[in-house]
């Protein structure tokens, strides 16, 4: 794997670098920004928002609800034991169990989706720079291709503002 990237310490510069890469014709999906904090106030952090995660959470909740309903109902019917004169399938108490399982389903679906979609856990990829932890922000492109192709990228990263250009060969 090869990569070309720049380290900046100012998010304004990062924004300019991302815009510059776009102007140079790099598709949004290939522009990689790595940082030690989310920078929600800058446009570059709003690419690839995961709004659909809410839908996944609701779906997980529905699965949990169905599982809760199934668990309470079938187990009570499988060996009908009478207690306190209550019905064998007692709706009110079951509601509590179903509620907890609904919420558990939503929580687990959210977390599992988070891990899958954020590609965690994994071995730390080569395309990384420990200086990010010192507060630097990485902007770069993986596999930029031949030297001739990567020249406009280097130019865009340099033009954005003060930063250090690095390469992974």
């Amino acid at each position: 794997m090869t990569a070309i990237y720049a380290l900046y310490d100012d998010p304004e510069v990062v924004q300019r670098a991302v815009d510059g890469l776009r102007t140079a014709g790099v598709p949004d999906g290939r522009i990689v920004v790595m940082s030690s904090e989310p920078f929600e106030d800058f446009e570059f952090s709003h690419r690839d928002k995961a709004d659909w995660l809410f839908t996944v959470a609701v779906a997980g909740g529905v699965v949990g609800l169905a599982a809760g309903y199934w668990l309470t109902r079938l187990t009570q019917l499988s060996w009908p034991l009478r207690t306190s004169g209550m019905p064998i399938v007692a709706p009110w108490p079951n509601l509590i169990v179903i509620f907890e399982m609904t919420m558990l389903g939503a929580i687990l679906a959210t977390v599992v989706t988070l891990f899958i979609s954020a590609r965690l856990p994994r071995r730390l990829p080569r395309f990384y720079d420990p200086e990010i932890s010192d507060g630097y922000i990485l902007v770069g492109v993986a596999n930029p291709g031949a030297d001739a192709d990567s020249r406009p990228l280097t130019q865009a990263l340099t033009d954005a503002g003060p930063g250090r250009i690095k390469r992974i060969e």
Binding site: D19, E37, P38, E40, R47, A106, I107, L120
Partner: protein, 452 residues
């Protein structure tokens, strides 16, 4: 402005991870000894039977159940408060959230052990869990104890994830700074976190959903704990107010515990720059609010029973107002209501020693509340011939003391291996907010569309 100027922040907050003082070993040794003593006491109780505890006929529940409700109550500070503060985007929350969420997780773990400690056959506790057994018998979903299992299970899972997800970026930070074995361990914990935009977006979205989901779960947990009592036709238990009353009391005691934990943290880890007066001020205001709410609930509960004047209930009622348990009752009122109301209206008290005094009082008072709910009612059930009493035995007191030590021990160890204040969230707090000041929030989507 330079981002890298934030490095002192990471240096400060990572100091406890890289430097170990003598006090750490001393504290771990001392607390560990107490915890071991408690485990020995539990083993002693298992060996001889519940008879070595003070529980008896008719007071079948005593200290163990009091501690169960107490610790589950303490657990309501962290995740609940941090979830609410996250959702309303309160900026001052950032240094507080993690040390609050840790309280939740550990208090829940400790609280969840008590229903096992109190069992006659603790080694069979898993019979409460639903699993296909050879006898093809499932747990009884009509039992509040099974609801407890489900509620605590969901809450513990949720709180644990809620605490640990935002720890991943901080683990990555430690990974990049450490060397040798420590680097390898934190590298594993960081799970290959790079901090790409995509990862940040997923994490933030997941935290948002978790915050929304965990609030109703937290409310349900202590409601269900209250159902352990209010479902039974025991005098003063069978009450509709118990759900909200327990939830309010839980948050009340949880905030008190949080104030105490933050006070200790600030002093021991020298975090005065992070846990500032504003945090204590705000939390103490919240404590004052909850004290008022608590007073409201107790008044509502007591006046209803007194006015209704049902003979069955009055025996339990008077035993707490005038009888055997009245000294405990009025101590509780002083601790939970008089003390906070006397101290916390004043800012000087809220940011100073007053908050510590009030919070300690509330922790004691809320423990007494749980005791006064359980024991006087069981001592005075419907048939006067069966009235009895309860004297706690050493084994119960030792187990109880050891759980406080366990809490402190777990907290100490946690603060040793994880930055107790979320570093990346603090960095977010320090960054300038150009979009928020220059362009209003709702224009952001248009902004991104306008970009090439």
């Amino acid at each position: 402005m330079s981002r890298t100027r934030n490095n002192p922040l990471a240096d400060d907050l990572l100091r406890p991870l890289f430097n170990t003082g003598v006090w750490f070993y001393l504290a771990v040794a001392a607390l560990g000894t107490v915890v071991l003593t408690g485990l020995t006491a539990w083993a002693y109780q298992m060996w001889h039977g519940m008879g070595v505890a003070g529980v008896n006929w008719p007071v079948f529940w005593g200290f163990h159940e009091t501690n169960f409700v107490f610790w589950i109550g303490i657990s309501h500070a962290g995740t609940l408060i941090s979830a609410i503060l996250r959702l309303v985007n309160a900026r001052w929350r950032r240094p507080v959230t993690r040390c609050a969420e840790v309280i939740t997780v550990f208090a829940l773990m400790i609280g969840a052990i008590f229903p096992i400690i109190h069992l006659g056959k603790p080694w069979l506790f898993y019979w409460v869990a639903p699993y296909p057994s050879q006898g093809s018998i499932w747990p009884n979903f009509r039992s509040p104890l099974v609801w407890d299992f489900f509620a605590i299970n969901t809450y513990l899972t949720g709180s644990l994830l809620f605490l640990m997800l935002p720890m991943i970026p901080d683990f990555a930070l430690v990974r990049d700074r450490a060397v040798g074995l420590r680097k390898r361990i934190y590298g594993l914990l960081a799970m290959g976190w790079q901090g790409t935009t995509q990862q940040w977006n997923r994490l933030e979205a997941a935290m948002q959903i978790m915050a929304i989901a965990i609030i109703p779960v937290a409310v349900s947990v202590h409601t269900i704990v209250s159902f352990d009592f209010s479902m039974a036709q025991v005098p003063m238990w069978h009450s509709t107010i118990f759900g909200p009353y327990f939830v309010a009391g839980a948050i009340f005691s949880g905030i008190a515990a949080l104030i105490l934990a933050m006070t200790v943290l600030r002093r021991m880890l020298r975090l005065h720059d992070y846990l500032q007066d504003i945090h204590f001020d705000n939390l103490a205001k919240l404590l004052l609010l909850m004290a008022l709410l608590w007073g409201y609930f107790v008044t509502a509960e007591r006046i209803t029973v007194w006015y209704g004047n049902e003979p069955h209930e009055m025996a339990a009622f008077w035993s707490t107002q005038r009888g055997l348990y009245s000294p405990l009752f009025w101590t509780m009122v002083c601790c939970n209501f008089v003390l906070p109301l006397a101290l916390l209206p004043f800012r000087r008290m809220r940011i100073g020693f007053g908050a510590v005094v009030a919070a300690s009082g509330v922790v004691v008072g809320m423990w007494l509340e749980r005791f006064l709910i359980i024991v006087p009612s069981l001592s005075n059930k419907q048939l006067p011939y069966t009235w009895g009493g309860y004297t706690p035995q050493p084994v119960e007191v030792i187990v109880m003391a050891s759980t406080f030590a366990a809490m402190a021990l777990l907290y100490t160890l946690f603060a040793k291996v994880v930055p107790i204040i979320s570093i990346w969230e603090m960095r977010v707090g320090n960054q300038p907010h150009p979009a928020a000041t220059a362009a209003p929030e709702h224009e952001l989507p248009e902004l991104s569309k306008a970009r090439p």
